[in-house]
């Protein structure tokens, strides 16, 4: 790999920290950006520590492509890593980065792939054309209320015909993601009200009032397949499956487990191994069909009777990539999927095949968040003045929260997602990873106060409770 490359990290927080570390691992130079609200973030201090003042620029917004690219030019960056969120799945940005006067490498899939797969609707069309099962519902954003109502009616009727006692329809902001802007509806009268609410929400948050309407499948598990391919796009490999079913009430992931099911210790009402093989096969088939050329995640819904439906493809590195890496070995060695994404994105061939990838044990990722699970997971905002945990060889913590104390607290910015840290726990089997996870959470200390002097609220107890139920359907 050409070590002369310099990577612009067009993101913030924990993922920016991990990209800096991956660049260091690969011997690459990097440059970071931050906004005024993020001046105290750990990614800022790490960039200064490892790269000096010239490796850090203040910008007005992480959403301003002009500024990001002017920083790239000023700093001499040759590649852009978008992280997740912001521009990660914006094919126009990826195209602009690679086709401008001074082209840069976009460390993600090629813009055509993002265009074809990054959109939930295009993905659904492609999947249907390949015989991959998808959730029944609209295959394009709906802007017209009458049309939306017609689709909802047909989905209610379809479920009634299938003998579903309590049919449900899901209304989603088409431009949304990460579980935001989704509500379920029980009848057509309620549908009108919810449709308008989601449409207004989508307009406010995403400036696009398009809405998707789908059958709401109850009682399901949310599985993912982690895919990686080099720039040839010809030989995608997978890094196993993940189970992301433990979510907040707003359907946002809180705890992820790899692999997706554990038939060796848990009984399922269906052939779990065959199901995992099936979703991996479908995911790789789709990846081959589009010439997928980076890391990506195929997201699946699996019903209690073992039927999989493809939900969407995330054409980026996921928050939870580390839990797949924790159980994977390439030719017997540990793997860092962010470093792999950068390495292959810069043009290196993958250098291994599926036969070289082996899986060991079980991994759990905890998303540690200041929020109130008893109050609809409302985000808690204030100052963190204690954040510590016990170090173990089976545990890795990724965070952008800098070292804090009573005298030097960290104020959580309200402008961004509320994730504070990711803890990745490994065990040789389900029993061991659960025990390790609980031991980690018991020793975790996360304290602080808000403006009214009230104590910090976090999801740690919620995570403890859920640890007892992981991978059970």
């Amino acid at each position: 790999m050409n070590k002369q490359h310099k990577v612009l990290i067009a993101n913030r927080g924990e993922i920016a920290v991990r990209i800096i570390q991956a660049c260091r691992k690969l011997g690459l130079d990097f440059v970071c950006v931050h906004t005024a609200e993020d001046a105290c973030s750990g990614h800022v201090s790490l960039a200064l520590e490892l790269g000096g003042e010239k490796s850090l620029y203040r910008i007005s917004s992480y959403h301003d492509a002009n500024e990001l690219l002017s920083v790239a030019d000023e700093s001499g960056a040759t590649a852009v890593h978008p992280g997740y969120g912001f521009f990660a799945e914006d094919f126009r940005f990826a195209r602009r980065v690679t086709e401008r006067g001074r082209p840069l490498v976009f460390l993600g899939p090629s813009w055509r792939v993002i265009r074809d797969l990054g959109d939930k609707i295009n993905t659904k069309r492609l999947a249907r054309s390949l015989g991959v099962p998808t959730v029944p519902g609209s295959d394009r954003p709906v802007y017209d209320e009458l049309e939306a109502e017609k689709i909802a009616r047909s989905l209610f009727d379809f479920q009634m015909q299938q003998g579903i006692a309590r049919p449900l329809v899901l209304v989603k902001a088409s431009a949304g993601g990460g579980g935001m802007g989704i509500e379920e509806v029980y009848d057509i009268d309620m549908f009108r009200q919810v449709y308008r609410r989601i449409r207004n929400y989508a307009m406010r948050q995403f400036k696009d009032e398009g809405v998707l309407i789908e059958q709401r499948i109850k009682d399901f598990n949310h599985l993912e397949v982690q895919v990686l391919s080099d720039r040839s796009g010809r030989h995608p490999v997978h890094f196993g499956t993940r189970n992301c079913s433990i979510q907040s009430t707003g359907r946002q992931k809180r705890l992820e487990v790899a692999p997706g099911f554990d038939p060796s210790s848990i009984h399922y009402d269906f052939d779990a191994k065959a199901l995992l093989d099936e979703i991996v096969m479908h995911s790789l088939n789709m990846a081959r069909k589009v010439g997928y050329d980076s890391v990506g995640t195929w997201e699946w819904i699996v019903t209690r009777d073992g039927h999989p439906f493809l939900m969407e493809v995330n054409t980026r590195i996921q928050v939870e990539n580390g839990v797949s890496a924790a159980i994977s070995r390439v030719k017997g060695k540990e793997v860092d999927l962010i470093a792999e994404q950068i390495r292959t994105g810069l043009g290196e061939p993958l250098g291994y095949t599926q036969d070289d990838i082996t899986f060991h044990g079980v991994g759990v990722e905890y998303r540690i968040i200041a929020e109130d699970p008893d109050n609809g997971f409302a985000p808690w905002v204030g100052d963190i003045d204690r954040f510590s945990w016990e170090e173990h060889d089976w545990c890795r913590v990724h965070t952008h929260v800098p070292p804090v104390s009573k005298e030097n607290p960290y104020t959580i910015p309200t402008e961004f997602d509320p994730n504070l840290a990711l803890a990745i726990i490994w065990g040789k089997d389900l029993a061991e990873v659960s025990a390790n996870g609980l031991a980690f959470l018991d020793k975790l200390r996360l304290e602080g106060h808000d403006g009214k002097g009230e104590a910090l609220k976090s999801n740690v107890e919620f995570l403890k409770k859920k640890t007892e139920r992981i991978l059970r359907f």
Binding site: S60, N66, E67, S70, R100, R204
Partner: protein, 216 residues
């Protein structure tokens, strides 16, 4: 209500504010031919459609962005040494000494004398859709509110929650938030005028219009 004459005297004693002009973006800076000591104007016109004085241009990715004076005043400082350099967003470029306008004086008086409903936490605020529509089409003073009424949507970290108004019944006399920007905890969102105070408030506004001499 605070004594209006007293507040007016305070404002007359200190009618200036000094406001920093900062780089709105990161990019290459070029000052216009303006000099220190020059008089500048802010956005004017019925809909603030006439731009303020051109102070500098920041070019990022070949896209020039003009830095314009946001208000009328005198350009007290200009950091010429930055000309031609790559500046980061937020870098101070100069200082404008600004004489308070009638509208600003009225706004300050209203904040001090009417009931201000403040942001309970740092977040973005929106009116609920029905109120939003009315405010945009007919103006905020056509909206009557009362204690317990669901009036706002609070948005932070992309999560939204309703917020009820608490305070005296009345009309929304003025709005102080911008839906695209975060409001700090404790900053006023609206001021509310009870029906019985409306004529008194209108008198105050009229008095400011006649008494406040817009200086420089």
């Amino acid at each position: 209500m605070r004594d209006i004459a007293e507040v007016m005297e305070e404002l007359k004693a200190a009618p200036y504010t000094e406001r920093e002009v900062c780089a709105p973006h990161t990019g290459v800076l070029r000052f216009s031919d303006i000099e220190e000591g020059a008089r500048v104007s802010g956005f004017t016109g019925t809909w603030k459609e006439i731009p303020g004085t051109h102070i500098a241009t920041i070019t990022r990715e070949k896209n020039p962005c003009k830095v314009l004076a946001a208000e009328r005043g005198v350009l007290q400082k200009l950091y010429r040494d930055l000309d031609g350099s790559f500046v980061e967003a937020g870098t101070p470029l100069g200082v404008i000494r600004h004489y308070l306008t009638r509208q600003e004086v009225v706004s300050k008086l209203l904040k001090e004398s009417l009931y201000a409903f403040c942001a309970p936490e740092r977040a973005k605020y929106y009116f609920v859709p029905d109120v939003d529509k009315k405010v945009k089409i007919l103006g905020c003073r056509t909206v009557s509110i009362h204690d317990g009424m669901e009036l706002f949507i609070v948005s932070r970290m992309k999560r939204e929650a309703p917020l009820c108004y608490s305070g005296p019944a009345g009309i929304i006399y003025d709005v102080y938030f911008d839906q695209t920007k975060n409001v700090d905890a404790g900053s006023p969102l609206i001021v509310v005028c009870p029906p019985e105070q409306q004529s008194a408030v209108e008198d105050v506004v009229a008095r400011v219009q006649s008494e406040w001499n817009e200086g420089e």
